[in-house]
């Protein structure tokens, strides 16, 4: 009955948003429906009439293909590739409905996660149960609502598969978890970010059936059968998805579409990661340099002084960052976490923690990261947050900052009350419910001040700044301020999460001595 209520809440909130104006992502998915429906398979990854080319793996293309068969009953015109930016009411209705319907996967996954949550003994009323709080935090997640139902993506469906895979691992059904993750990878390759966590965990905890008494690897317990089982799952799903394209010799073309490295270190709006801070320092130094007459204005790249919204951001003072550098930084950042679950595996929960660290690490150091990627860390972290007090504190910090950083996605005046109200709803609920669950304050005064500062930033960016004279000369300043302020919070959460992971690793080591 609890899930019934949640379903209703989710559905009502989502259908409410059904009539919002479409965003570019809307057109992207319409285009993909058209491509997969109207063109033969061999042309899918070559087609570029529209600028929004197919850049998800083939399994997602097959998903869009199956959707398009339903779409033709709503409005045949949306499936014509040439109809760029086609937005009849039937199209909008169909697209929104498809997101809502595929959210069923998400709802089921949340139910499974709630089943795996550990509870303390003691009678609590319904609202205080950890699994109710987890269900609420996941189903009413502000970020997911905003990104999926207002901005338009299929993240509910994809995160549903991710959470289901995690739930299966928590329940000990590792093969199913692996299958689900492989499917997920073939639907959206951004989940490669967390593939190391999966890989090492499955190798260490599943392929090696027993551990030594001190927790280290017992090489003799290696089970080739299990390895072969895992391998065959990965290969068969991959074959299903990429097979046709390998047969047609289109693999290089597909890969080039999937990994377009030309796009620039940062998105037009800098995701709140390390590179945002890096850019900020660079900008500040160049402005300072010009003021102090140490630099010549003419020698600096034009865009660095006046704009912040260019795709190819050139650093003027600090060294430029290339894709390989970001890859190395990412790998370095997740290495300790991955090593820790190899050396001292802590079961499925250790894996989950490592997964969150991997997701956050790649968010912090990745190339051309979109701010929506913060959800990859927030959603799985919710499971840990309802089980441990320290995790709840980090969760509140990460989730509030991360969700606030999504605000620039909705920039019209009509959407301002919606995003503010939904943000207040989620933040209020998460704070009060977790506080009640763990009986006491979860954040220290500094953190609370930082989070209250978000309110000031919001008022500054959305109310004060547009009315000031700088709005026309330096229009990017609100975005910059939001990005930099949030990256402080996200980085802080990342560091705290890492510290807690390594501290657990340390206590495990102490137990052996």
């Amino acid at each position: 009955s609890i899930s019934k209520v949640h379903c209703v809440v989710l559905l009502t909130m989502t259908v409410f948003s059904g009539y919002f104006s479409h965003s570019t992502d809307f057109e992207v998915h319409r285009n993909w429906l058209a491509i997969t429906h109207s063109l033969p398979v061999s042309k899918w990854y070559h087609e570029n009439t529209s600028e929004w080319t197919l850049d998800y793996p083939p399994l997602f293309a097959w998903f869009e293909y199956s959707l398009s068969h339903v779409a033709q009953h709503f409005d045949k015109e949306m499936l014509v590739v040439q109809n760029l930016i086609y937005t009849s009411p039937a199209t909008i209705l169909f697209q929104r409905l498809s997101v809502i319907v595929t959210d069923i996967v998400f709802i089921y996954a949340v139910k499974e996660c709630c089943r795996s949550v550990r509870e303390e003994k003691g009678s609590k009323d319904l609202l205080g149960h950890p699994f109710f709080i987890l269900a609420a935090l996941l189903l009413w997640n502000f970020g997911l609502l905003i990104v999926d139902h207002i901005h338009f993506q299929y993240n509910g469906f994809l995160f549903g598969i991710l959470l289901l895979s995690v739930a299966r691992h928590l329940q000990g059904r590792h093969l199913e978890g692996a299958l689900l993750f492989t499917v997920l990878l073939n639907l959206k390759h951004i989940y490669l970010y967390i593939a190391p966590a999966y890989g090492i965990f499955l190798l260490r905890s599943y392929c090696f059936t027993k551990d030594n008494t001190d927790g280290s690897v017992r090489w003799s317990s290696f089970s080739p059968v299990r390895l072969v089982a895992l391998g065959s799952i990965v290969i068969s799903v991959g074959a299903l998805s990429f097979g046709p394209f390998i047969a047609m010799g289109q693999l290089p073309q597909v890969l080039s579409r999937l990994f377009p490295f030309k796009r620039g270190l940062c998105h037009a709006y800098w995701a709140p990661n390390v590179w945002a801070l890096y850019n900020m320092v660079d900008k500040a130094l160049s402005v300072l340099g010009v003021r102090l007459k140490l630099l010549d204005v003419a020698k600096l790249p034009k865009a660095s002084m006046t704009g912040g919204l260019v795709q190819e951001f050139q650093h003027s003072i600090l060294p430029s960052v290339s894709p390989s550098i970001t890859l190395i930084c990412t790998l370095l950042s997740i290495m300790p976490a991955v090593l820790s679950i190899w050396c001292r595996p802590r079961g499925a929960r250790g894996f989950l923690r490592c997964l969150v660290v991997c997701a956050l690490g790649s968010f912090m150091f990745g190339w051309h990261v979109h701010e929506k990627a913060i959800l990859m860390a927030i959603l799985p972290f919710s499971i840990l947050a309802v089980e441990s007090r320290e995790d709840a504190g980090i969760f509140l910090m990460l989730t509030t900052t991360g969700h606030y950083s999504l605000f620039p996605l909705l920039f019209t005046a009509a959407e301002l009350p919606i995003k503010v109200l939904l943000m207040l709803l989620f933040t209020l609920y998460s704070f009060t419910s977790l506080k009640k669950l763990f009986r006491g304050s979860l954040l220290n005064p500094l953190e609370t001040t930082y989070l209250l500062g978000l309110v000031a930033v919001e008022i500054l960016c959305e109310v004060v700044y547009p009315l000031s004279p700088w709005q026309h000369t330096l229009p990017f300043v609100p975005l910059l301020v939001t990005s930099v302020y949030c990256s402080l919070g996200v980085s802080y959460s990342f560091i705290r999460l890492y510290v807690s992971l390594l501290r657990q690793h340390g206590t495990d080591k102490h137990k052996q001595l």
Binding site: K4, V5, V8, T12, M13, V15, F16, S17, G18, Y19, F20, L127, G128, A413, A414, P417, I418, L421, L422, L424, L425, L428, Y429, T432, S433, K436
Partner: protein
């Protein structure tokens, strides 16, 4: 979780629902030359800002009363003036005399919607929260659920934030009146109600219960002593408030007459369009509009209305308690709706407000009524392009209220106070009336869903172009009539003296 956080969450949820609906279309969007209620409100801002007070209600060269002339009492005009001042600060084009006629823009729509939200937040929502916490019974959880369910009532959301009106102000002020009276402050309560009356003259539907309740209280306190003092205090408050509201118009009796003439257009006929009341439904069988003259129609409707409200008002006079007061509000406004002159379908909101107050006590009949009231306005919503919000808010309201208020658990004969029905149906002693009610409810909701679907999906036959609006209004009418009977029976069947032992409904 503490109360304040739960209530804040409910209020935030209600606000989100309201703003989400307001992003849809409004009445008369893109339909020149007359547009709709949205344009009317904008026009009143223009008129009140640019013209002097004594010209507001008169037909002048600058003020053409045929184009949405002001036909609400002065408080609406003052509110429009206030909004116009704000509008002038943001964009003077919105209230430019003559030039702004038919002005429609993205920014203006946001401004107008924002004015509704602000008024709601300041007046209606606090009243709902106060009512649930101080005047309704049950655990804290139940009170929070009541807040949520009242705030989710689809009819008010769709009319105020979709069609575009300011009902939340008049209904909110009336609710403040009820809350304050319930807390025992009679003078302030009457003040609030008079303000509400001066915002929309339709609040006259609620006036008789207020009058009878206060008069009954005066009688109870003894007309020779404190009762008389109370009566005088209330009368003075009412007169002074009226005078203050009508101050600019008091200098000239011609002004007052003109305003009254605008407020009560008796020349307009028994009903307009399709509305779920007796006359429109009767018109299907007998064309009374053509048979009787306008004067006869007026007297006929007047007498039937008075007859319908008489029992309830007398009972309230004899037993002025909060419970009786709430029931009388329902009965009076519903009777007015069903039998009065020149009723609009939006007037169903007037009985809907007191029924919201009964959600805690009689969940199933209240939910049934509220859903029927939303359904009765379906043709209006379809005309305004509000189909999706209608479906979503109705479904949300049904699910939340039935689940949170445990409507089906409180479905026994006893809880529904079906005693008198039991006595009437003496021939069928074995029927479980509670079960019967539940099944009737299911059937009714299914029928409403079916009719809604048909109104949208099917085209009416050529000979009967108004088939679906007519079916909707007749169906709703039958519901309202049945529920009028039910609420009257509940109110009148109650004994005059409260029973000594623990009664659930304390009087």
């Amino acid at each position: 979780m503490e109360n304040w956080s739960l209530v804040s969450i409910c209020v935030l949820f209600g606000l989100t629902a309201r703003w989400a609906v307001s992003l849809n279309s409004y009445s008369g969007a893109g339909k020149p030359p007359m547009f709709g209620d949205y344009e009317a409100q904008r026009h009143w801002q223009e008129v009140t800002y640019n013209l002097p007070v004594h010209e507001w209600y008169f037909n002048t060269t600058d003020n053409n009363l045929n184009y949405w002339g002001l036909d609400y009492p002065p408080l609406t005009a003052y509110h429009s003036l206030l909004c116009a001042h704000v509008a002038k600060l943001i964009n003077p084009d919105w209230v430019e005399l003559h030039a702004s006629r038919g002005h429609e823009s993205y920014g203006h729509k946001l401004f107008m919607r924002a004015t509704v939200l602000v008024a709601d937040l300041l007046i209606y929502i606090p009243a709902v929260v106060l009512y649930s916490f101080y005047l309704s019974e049950g655990s804290n959880k139940k009170k929070v659920c009541t807040v949520l369910c009242i705030l989710l009532y689809p009819g008010l959301i769709l009319i105020d934030y979709g069609h575009f009106q300011y009902n939340s102000i008049s209904l909110g002020l009336a609710l403040w009146g009820v809350v304050v009276l319930g807390l025992g402050w009679d003078v302030l309560g009457s003040l609030a109600f008079v303000l509400s009356l001066n915002y929309k003259q339709m609040e006259l539907y609620h006036s008789l219960p207020f009058f009878c309740y206060l008069l009954g209280k005066c009688f109870k306190q003894g007309l020779a002593g404190r009762g008389l003092f109370l009566l005088v205090k209330i009368a003075v408050t009412v007169l002074v408030t009226f005078a203050l509201c009508w101050l600019p118009f008091l200098s000239d009796p011609g002004q007052i007459l003109q305003v009254v003439h605008r407020l009560f257009p008796v020349g307009r006929g028994l009903f307009e369009d399709k509305v779920a009341n007796t006359w429109c439904s009767l018109n299907v069988l007998i064309k009374i509009k053509t048979i009787l003259s306008t004067d006869t129609q007026l007297y006929f409707s007047l007498t039937t209305t008075l007859l319908a409200i008489l029992p309830s008002s007398i009972k309230l006079l004899m037993k002025p308690t909060l419970w009786q007061f709430k029931l009388a509000l329902v009965n009076s406004s519903l009777a007015f709706f069903l039998f009065s002159f020149q009723v609009h379908e939006k007037s169903i909101l007037l009985p809907a407000l007191p029924v919201c107050l009964l959600l805690n006590d009689l969940p199933l009949p209240a939910i049934w009524f509220l859903q029927a009231s939303t359904f009765s306005m379906l043709p209006l919503f379809l005309k305004d392009g509000l189909l999706v919000p209608y479906v979503v808010t109705s479904l949300a309201f049904l699910f939340f209220s039935i689940y949170l208020l445990s409507a089906f658990e409180h479905c026994s004969e006893d809880k529904l106070r079906l005693g008198p029905y039991r006595r009437l149906l003496i021939c069928m002693p074995r029927m479980d009336l509670g079960r019967v009610t539940k099944w009737k409810f299911y059937f009714s909701i299914t029928a409403m869903a079916g009719l809604s679907f048909m109104s949208v999906a099917l085209a009416p036959p050529d000979q009967l172009p108004d088939l679906f609006p007519l079916l909707v209004s007749v169906f709703s009418y039958l519901h309202f009539l049945g529920l009028l009977l039910y609420f009257n029976i509940v109110q009148i069947a109650e004994p005059l003296q409260s029973v000594r032992k623990n009664q659930k409904k304390s009087n």
